[in-house]
Amino acid sequence: MTATPEQTTATQTALQPVGGGGVVVVERKQPGQSYGQGIAKGMAVVIRHFAKSFTSRIDDKSDQAGMFTVEYPEERMELPEAYRNMPVLLYDDKTGQELCTSCFQCERICPPKVIHITQAKDPNTGKAVPAAEEFIIEYDSCMSCGLCHEICPFDAIKMDHFYELSTHDHLAMDQNKAALDRPISYYQAIAPNLWAAVEANAMKKLQNNVKRRPGNIGVAPHMIGKTQKALPTAAAAGAGAAAAARPKTPVAAIGKNMSPEKVARLEAIRAAKRGGATMPGESEIVAPSPVASGESGLHVAESQAGLAPSPATTPAPATGPVAAVGQSMSDEKKARLEAIRAAKRAQGGGQ
């Protein structure tokens, strides 16, 4: 087939062109002479695997041999904490209070648009309150991307570990709020480290929202009967992180079991709010600043989310708003932040 077969010798280097036709010669080194050692080696390896499969299991990922089968219905693999399958809503164990404030961020970010929220309204005033009347997720179309869980500013929506969802009935996979509600203790059990981080960062954000829910609004439906009983006891005992958000008066909320630093943090936050309440007039003037008004609502939400979950770094109000703003920030951004903070202070004081 080749035009010049004699040209290929052992001394030629690889990819040397032959003749003028652009034909190259590829050389492949043969392995050394073998009289069946290769196959013997292979058979030894295989029989070792065969024997080890009876005696040992692959537990470590670096194990070379041993049984790796997990016989599913009887045994299950240990799921990693960050495993995510389908989103669920969290509520407080003691009070039944849901963490969702119906901020619609999850509904907005959901790529397949399977989240549908109805905001609750105060039956007396007809005003919207920060709680969900109904919360529906179409599980059959959910792609488990976890964006809702990432975006939720109140850690109200979390990814469940439950994965045995197969059914013949697609419509039955639309989950309403009653089906989605899970107690915090459940999530704490499946993801203790993640929940610890949440607790450390963001629990206090609920306080204001929960305060604004009248009656049974925002309470997990199956907990409604128990709520009235649970409320006073929770208020009295003040046990648990979530319970801190519950009571009517801020002072009573500081429980006995709380760590000192947490108490200190709560005190600082409350002080800040009280401080904000003293100057409502000023905030009203600052809030509609021309820079801030040009931005979209989403942008504001992002800056809020970025600042709010880090209360430890939030400076006390006595040092003044300017100190909190980083030095590397541009003037324009500083101004915007100032405006937002002022607005928040005004809002908090108004309650």
């Binding site: 087939m1 035009a3 077969p5 290929t8 003749g19 036709g21 652009g22 034909v23």
Partner: protein, 246 residues
């Protein structure tokens, strides 16, 4: 026992003759080859029935397993598979039929009506007794069946089998054995030589360079594609198959 043997005999005869008939009259040549295999298998069973198991096994090994496969391969290599639309028999096939039938008639008459063979009556041992063999071979015509004594079963000599065949191939039939092995060797070499196709004439896949060279020469000579190969090639597709191992 005789009944079963008769049954098997007639069944096998029917199989052999019917499939033999199908071999010559069926249109599709592949079907003809398959009928031929059936016929060969029936004949092998016939040999078993005739208590020649070695010949039967050789029949299976050589005819059913090798020659028929060779025929199937030859048919597939020559691409004359289905006989649809073409005439499979000569126009004057009835002459052949007449000749064949005439021969059958000529052969069958003496076979049936004038049995002159030294075969015993039904139900009696039918070999020639050892003592009579010399006399029989000396005067083959004078070996009337009636003279034979019915032999007791205990004295029935062993029917020659594979062991005896091996013995006689190494002794009195050594020359035929060597000649047939020589014949096989010659046939092997002859078949290879006849069916061998020279490498240069084989349809081959060209490299791009060779193809370009070819195109240049064709353009220079002003003639159209002298090689069949280049016409078969989609341009640029040739290099994958050209890696030849040496």
């Amino acid at each position: 026992m005789d009944f079963i043997i008769g049954l098997i005999f007639w069944g096998l005869s029917a199989l052999i003759l019917f499939s033999g008939l199908m071999v010559v009259i069926v249109k599709n040549i592949i079907h003809a080859a398959l009928w031929l295999i059936a016929s060969f298998a029936g004949i092998a069973a016939f040999y078993f029935l005739l208590e020649a198991p070695y010949i039967g096994v050789v029949q299976i090994l050589v005819y059913t397993g090798a020659i028929s496969i060779l025929m199937l391969f030859a048919i597939m290599l020559t691409r004359q598979v289905t006989g649809e639309g073409t005439q499979q028999l000569f126009k004057r096939w009835w002459v052949a039929a007449l000749v064949a039938f005439g021969l059958f008639a000529v052969v069958i008459v003496p076979t049936i009506w004038f049995p002159r063979l030294p075969v015993a009556e039904r139900g009696q041992p039918t070999y020639w007794p050892q003592s009579d063999r010399a006399a029989a071979s000396a005067t083959p015509a004078a070996a009337p069946a009636a003279q034979q004594e019915p032999q007791p079963e205990a004295e029935t000599p062993q029917i020659a089998g594979a062991f005896e065949i091996g013995r006689s191939f190494m002794a009195e039939y050594l020359l035929p054995f060597e000649v047939s092995s020589l014949l096989l060797l010659v046939a092997l070499i002859g078949a290879v030589v006849i069916a061998y196709e020279e490498r240069t004439r084989r349809r081959r896949i060209l490299t791009l360079a060779e193809e370009a060279e070819l195109r240049r020469s064709v353009a220079g000579l002003g003639m159209e594609r002298p090689l069949q190969a280049s016409a078969q090639l989609p341009p640029g597709k040739s290099e994958a198959g050209t890696a030849e191992r040496r």
